[in-house]
Symmetry: D3
Subunit: 250 residues, 6 copies
């Protein structure tokens, strides 16, 4: 089973929050998409494991994912150690993604900043991805080198390396987030007001470059810009010129 | 005359040094390319104005440029003021480039770091590009908004936002640099040893991502990553998959 | 005439955009507020000088300002030089503010980033404020030392030093911005859609700390935290405890 | 038992060093103060556990603390793991502080820089504070959300977010530090010369803003500046003006 | 056995890659040099433990090392914990180096960036060096305080604190690297092309300051510059002036 | 007249404040030292031009300078332009220093931060030093390339690249500063209390590395560390070992 783009999320809803619009857009462009949930989010204030597993399945449908997986790490107890990295590497060898996304590994720790599981997952997935291409690792599957990793859930002081225009997918993304009702529905205000906050952030990010909604991602290595014209957006209505095709993936 | 990509260089050889490989590659991809030299480099230790004008013409041919221009700023005296910005804006309106490149505006000042003309040019071109799309500027030509600006001649502490694989163009680039013999030919060592240093830098940058030679560029705003697969290089020999085309320029 | 808080803005609408909510809140807390416009914004695509002068007066009323001033600098030509600093210093000595706000001095230059007038104004006002308290400056008025300067119009990569909850003033702020119809009314979309973008940014900033709307500001020196409990917001509904009063201004 | 401000220190003397002046001032303003020592500092070259426990009690009296606690972590072995976070969270639920202080989590590791216990404690306390407000944590006590965390023991390259004028408490602070005679008394020089170094640092920090002695603290989120006039110090002798009271805690 | 300069490397070849030129130069200046390998690199794709142990001995000879040591940590499983730090501290007390080098502790995690063992080793060695000078540590040997630590394997965004001219030792360094044939010999290209990449990086770094080849290192504390003229290179051929000797080690 | 180390100061007392201890130490090591004052500091609140010229001469004697110079720039009006750079370059060609020091060019602007003359002087001297080695500059004197530039008056967020132990010269330095009585003598407190603040900063900086007093400096390029043992201080009383002499200047 080859998936083009795999997002690892520490708790159900993290991957959807950080990458939902991107996943919808990628699917629409013809790529195969997946989320791997490291835990069932069983320590969350709202929602039992059962409820959250159902919610993540609903969200997966709303995002048109090709694949989901729920690993058996424990909520609030993710650790970046050898055994855990082997588990990640095993899945990487199975899914063989072109792009892996993980939470940013270096956020300041603490409530409302870097949850311990977010920080641990960022490190764990990064090292697990590395393990996947080492021949001697005591795990099954053919070795596999993920071409590129990006990071989401960026702290405020980190400028995204790139942003993605998700304006056309925003409403669908918000609907997918609403599947996580146990997390996002505010009983007091009788509304999904957190999702409004998420929307404001995406609007704010998009307006930097004239988009309605955007999501931002970080690359710890410089991006490829072999044809930097791919970084230049067309003006609305501008005809697409016929230029030599780009000699790279895809 | 519409040029796709225009590099502004403070002295003849700066644009070639910082963007030569890129310009060759862009030309090969079918784009129209140009260099605008702000000065004739008349204060350089080697070479008179006449010699340097001849050299920049030779280099332009070696780089297959579609257009060159030499402005009348004075070497070591470039200033980022209102009148100078109008001159830049006028040219921008004529050439109407999709991408403009200028030297990085924020290098530390001083010998071997940020030459005063490099720093001034970075600021001047940035503001001039802005002036080009303001209706009321007292200059001829239809207003024009440059879609994207990037910067070259990056200080060591600034990680490039993206790098460009120029391996296939490296030799041709070095030949173009040799046109600036008054600047790069070392009479003592009877060799172009500075160009060897430039090559080492490009090799070093390329090896980060498995290329033989690369050039690096900086964007002060996050890049567009609408289809982040354009950031993923194909493995050598990997078949180009048929994916939906990218809805953006070009 | 003593004003508590003075915002210097390069063009009519800059101060309102960057500090409108703050000015409304300060006024409500009993402080005297003012905007000093450095130029009439005569180079803006929309609006003549006359129109913009009228608009800034309307906006001043909508923000309940105690004072406005329009200086005679030229749009797109603000320069941080000796004569200009004397003009700033003269006004500072007249208004004698406790807090001065200016655009951030260190934004990257260029369109959509740091307008040349924003960068120049940030430097000019900073140095002019310093000149105001030097005895020998050839300007009228009693010397005056501004207690504190903050900066607005922060680039994306600069985390605000502090944010201000302006939720209660947001609607009033947006109304004030609409006074600058020549700048913010989009004839194509028949809407003030740029103001929606501004609102999204303020929402996004506010949600960091559970507010509906916030504005952010930067201090180049550490803040005073003599009683750091002033940094701790009360929970909604929490009774205000009786604690010893803070021995500082006001 | 509700404590207003709680400082977590890895070894006896760390909290006193980093926050002693602040704690004295807060007490004087009417707040309840406490130190939680994670270890007894039993690996310190000078002083046995017994000696150090006596010293920290003496220091607590000298700082007029309302409460002290000594946890059973081992010196040089503090680990940021699940069980340890539960212990921190339990204490947080008991003390229910408005402000928590911990050592900065991101210092460079090594001798004279970030002691392993300092780095671990910064992470551990941050995550433990988060755990305290999660309903499902297997620990006693009512859930509790700490309103604000700050950090002390900042590395040299980190500018404090705010500084606190402790000039009036400096002598008392130094006396409190002298209680840790096993750590700070230099048998060779027959003096508390390390405390002189601490005093120099506090003097140097204070002089930035015209104070005799100050301590500096770091916030990973922007501060609240609802009334930024609280950031403006009164001139000595200036009458306190009557302004509307600030609607926030306390 | 007192060694002047000790490099700790996570896998055989890391210390040689990051510090090979430096070690050759130091030896030539008369210092005693050593490498401590934390693991045998048994997880590397090429080479068994036996092969790699033989290779590191060959490399040691090629670098003229006075001492080598191979610890019993496991490849891909290095952990910065208490027991591991005691092992490091024990060796530090035996070798009593003036300078210790370790991999940089703060690289971004992941393939081609910070290998988990590199990051762990950077932290582990830093804390182990600290433990070596604590009296009460349950390890043999006289306490010892390492005067200075530096870091190698720097990420691209970290400017080296200092660079070392290794031009005279480059060829010898490359020969030493070739001893690690199982790691560096490319069967496909029938060449040591990775070593060419290493050479390009060293050339690039050296050209900053007019050297042919250099290696770069990072210090988390400011350097000593008691006589800053030691930072000024002589012009080639310039006679060495007779200045008062420098009052410091050595 | 060849001077080894030349400090450019914008106003009389700046060079003394930032580099006084260093200059005394360098003189003691046998180097020739000088200060070039760009202005007479005529805008300072205390002291006329005449008084300040006398004071700077006294300070020069107290610092045992070999040479002083006062240029004719105007206080508060230093500008980094072509003509000014020629003046700097002319002096550089005359004095031919091995090391030049200038105020840091990138401080935040404003009162108590970066005085306009400090920022301008940092840029001006950097570019002037570059001009000195360009053959075609319309100035007298043989071209000259300054081997190394460092910066002083560092903003708080900039960690010095290196610090210099000036403990043995601190008292003499303070005496030299007292020569600038018009600037540093506080008529209200009847004391040189600003100099006490300067001393606290130097103490604080020194304590990082176990010195009583230190001054810190910044290098925009990595330092030379050909023999990194020059970065390692001897323990007090440790015999100076006989090691091969360092092959560099001096």
């Amino acid at each position: 089973m080859a998936i083009d783009i795999v997002v690892f999320g520490p708790h159900p809803d993290d991957a959807e929050l950080g990458c939902g619009g991107l996943l919808l857009k990628m699917k629409d462009l013809g790529y195969k998409t997946a989320i791997v949930h490291l835990t069932a989010g069983e320590m969350g204030t709202g929602g039992s494991s059962e409820v959250r597993l159902q919610e993540l399945e609903n969200a997966a449908k709303a995002l048109n994912l090709d694949h989901i997986e729920v690993m058996d790490f424990h909520d609030c107890q993710i650790v970046d150690d050898f055994e855990s990295r082997l588990k990640i590497a095993t899945i990487v060898r199975q899914l063989r993604p072109k792009i892996v996304l993980a939470p940013y590994w270096g956020s300041p720790p603490g409530r409302g900043l870097g949850h311990t599981d977010h920080i641990a997952a960022g490190n764990l997935v990064s090292h697990g991805v590395n393990f996947a291409h080492l021949h001697k690792m005591p795990i099954p599957g053919e070795i596999y080198a993920v071409p590129r990793m990006f990071y989401y859930l960026l702290p405020q002081e980190l400028v995204p390396t790139f942003i993605v225009d998700i304006s056309a997918y925003a409403e669908q993304w918000f609907e997918a987030l609403k599947c996580h009702k146990s997390q996002f529905y505010n009983e007091k205000t009788k509304s999904f007001d957190f999702i409004e906050a998420v929307a404001a952030r995406a609007q704010s990010l998009g307006r930097i470059r004239g988009m309605k909604y955007a999501q931002g991602f970080y690359s710890p290595v410089p991006l490829l810009g072999d044809d930097p014209f791919v970084f230049v957006e067309r003006e609305p209505g501008e005809a697409k010129t016929e230029k030599p095709s780009h000699e790279r993936w895809p």
